[in-house]
Amino acid sequence: MKNKSIKGNEVDHGKLIINADWCKGCGICTAFCPTKAIELKNEKVTVVDIDKCTQCGLCELRCPDYAIYVGRKKNEQ
C-alpha cells in the first residue's frame, strides 16, 4: 500500500478546501473567480467571503498546483 499521506496543510472552508502548502501564489484562481470569493494574501490563496462561492469549480479547474478544490456540493451533504 502506497503512502498517500499529504504533507500539506489543508483547511476545509465547507464549499472550498485550500491546501496553503501547495499554493505558489500565482493568482490564476483569484483572477478568474467569477464571484471574487477568494483573493491572494501574503502570496497564498485565502477565502474572502465563502457565501459568494457558487462552487462553479473554475478555481479547481485552473489551479496548476491542485491547492484549491471544491468540497462536497450542498445537495450531497
Partner: protein
Amino acid sequence: MPSQLVDKYFRAEDLPQIWCPGCGHGIITRAITVAIEQLGLEPDKVCVVSGIGCSSRAPGYLDFNTLHTTHGRALAFATGIKLANPDLKVIVIMGDGDSTAIGGNHFIHACRRNIDLTTIIFNNNIYGMTGGQYSPLTPKFDKGTTAPYGNIDRPFDICDLASGAGATYVGRGTSYHANVVTSLVKKGIMNDGFSLIEAISGCPTYYGRKNKKGGPVDMMQWQKDNAVTVTAAAKMTPEQLEGKFLIGELKNKPEPEYTKEYQKIIDNLKGSDI
C-alpha cells in the same frame, strides 16, 4: 486528503510539483487525468510516456504505468510499448522543443505510421528547463536567451505538421481552456490511430518575462482573448482572424491502425512455410 481526482491519479506524496508558479503544465496534466476519469480507464491499462523537459516531468506525478525517457525519443519508446502490449492505452507527453526539434523525425514518422498513441504536446513556446532558449515554436521576432535581439526563424504549426505527416486525429487546446483539452484527449484516446493534441501553456518565468507578456494571469488572459473555436472561426473573415489561433478539433479522419495491420501479417503467416 487532496481532491478525489488528485488522490486517485496522482502520486500525491510527491506534490507540489517542481513547476514554476503559474506554469500551465499543471493545469493540462490535471485535464488529462479528468479525461482518463471520464473514460473510466483502468489505471493499470494506461501507460504515460514522456521525454525530457518541463512537460516531461508530468508522468513523475501521475500514478499510472509511467516512463520518463530520453530527449525527443518518447514516441520511439511508446511505439515499442504499444507494439508489445497493444491493449495498453499509451499516452505520450512531450514539450514543443522535445517533439519538434530533438524528436522531430520520431514525431513525423509516428504520425505517418498511424500507430495508436495519444500524444499531448505542452507548447510553452520555449525551452524552459534549460534556461529559456528559443524553440521551433517560438514565434518570429520573439526573444529567448539564445535570441536576445529576436528570433528570425519561422515557427512550426504543430497541428498542421501532424496533419500533413498523417496523424488521424488533431486538436488544439490551451491551459485556459482546460475543458477543451479534456474533451480532445478523450476523443484522442478513443481514436484508433495516432492522435495529436497541442496544449498551449504559459511559461511566465522564461517566455513571459523575456517577451514582456506579464505574469501567469496575463498569459492566461492572452490565451482567452486570442483563441477562436473552429466553429466561430468559420464565420469570421481573414482580417478578424489575424493574430488569432484556432482551438478545438482540427482533424478527425480515421485510417487503418498500425498494430492491427501488423497483427494481420502475423495472422496471415501463421502456419505457412516460410
